[in-house]
Symmetry: C2
Subunit: 153 residues, 2 copies
């Protein structure tokens, strides 16, 4: 039973990132670079990427990682980015990807729900549970440097 | 303000589908076909797809649709498929995609959370809200025919 639970359990982070830097989340290249680096920060292997302009000024992108995915859809005119990261398996730390991406987007606050997926009680009727919190991001020196690197690239 | 709210609002369905048909959710080709058709059922335009074998027997796939995405990760050995569908804009009906995919997977029950994303109260601090329910699927004749078509293809 424990083996089954381990196998199907996934962690899915649903993130609303506010007060993001419009220049960063409005750039297809920068958003792509950030999401690929976020996947790497989580310890995931990137399998495929798809990024495009989301009219009028936003970016829509998906990074397919080992048995998992990261996606974002951004509204630079509102300083808003919708982000979700789903991972399964013990080798990947999705929270690292969340924090990397949200800081690199320059967000000052985020509303985050972590959904634990694929839970069952041995009856093979799968369900999920969730916990929600607010996260304030101090604009740390490290985050500033990251944004500067994005701005320079 | 109403215009901004309309612009950032998205609908994200998080679905645990149980008692799926292992032959369907274990086939990369069938799962890909189902998710593309689910996108079409929702009225969405498919921009990109990425599907692959998720070891040992599962499928991992993402369909990028207009400003949105559909993804799945399946465990045929458990009859379980994790599915999520995010859409924004008024032209796409994500619930149609959810029901199409879950029925085509042959699921008998699903645990579903619909998350309304990108809500703000005019202060540009975005958040989400959610509602969760269980959905039982009678194996209708239509769903049976759909599965037969998948099995034949």
């Amino acid at each position: 039973m424990a083996e089954n639970i381990f196998k199907t359990i996934g962690h899915h982070y649903i993130v609303e990132a506010s007060s993001c830097d419009p220049e960063i989340i409005g750039s297809v290249e920068k958003v792509q670079q950030i999401l690929v680096k976020a996947a790497e920060a989580a310890g995931a292997q990137v399998w495929a990427i798809s990024f495009s302009r989301f009219p009028p000024n936003g970016v829509s992108g998906v990074v397919v990682i080992s048995a998992s995915h990261i996606s974002t859809h951004t509204w630079p005119e509102n300083g808003y980015a919708a982000l979700d990261i789903y991972t399964c398996g013990a080798d990947v730390d999705p929270e690292k990807a969340v924090f990397y991406a949200v800081e690199a987007f320059g967000a000052s606050t985020s509303h985050i729900t972590e959904i634990t997926r694929g839970i069952d009680e041995g009856d093979a009727a799968y369900y999920h549970s969730f916990v929600t919190w607010e996260e304030n991001f101090r604009k740390t020196k490290e985050a500033e440097k990251r944004r500067e690197r994005c701005n320079d690239s």
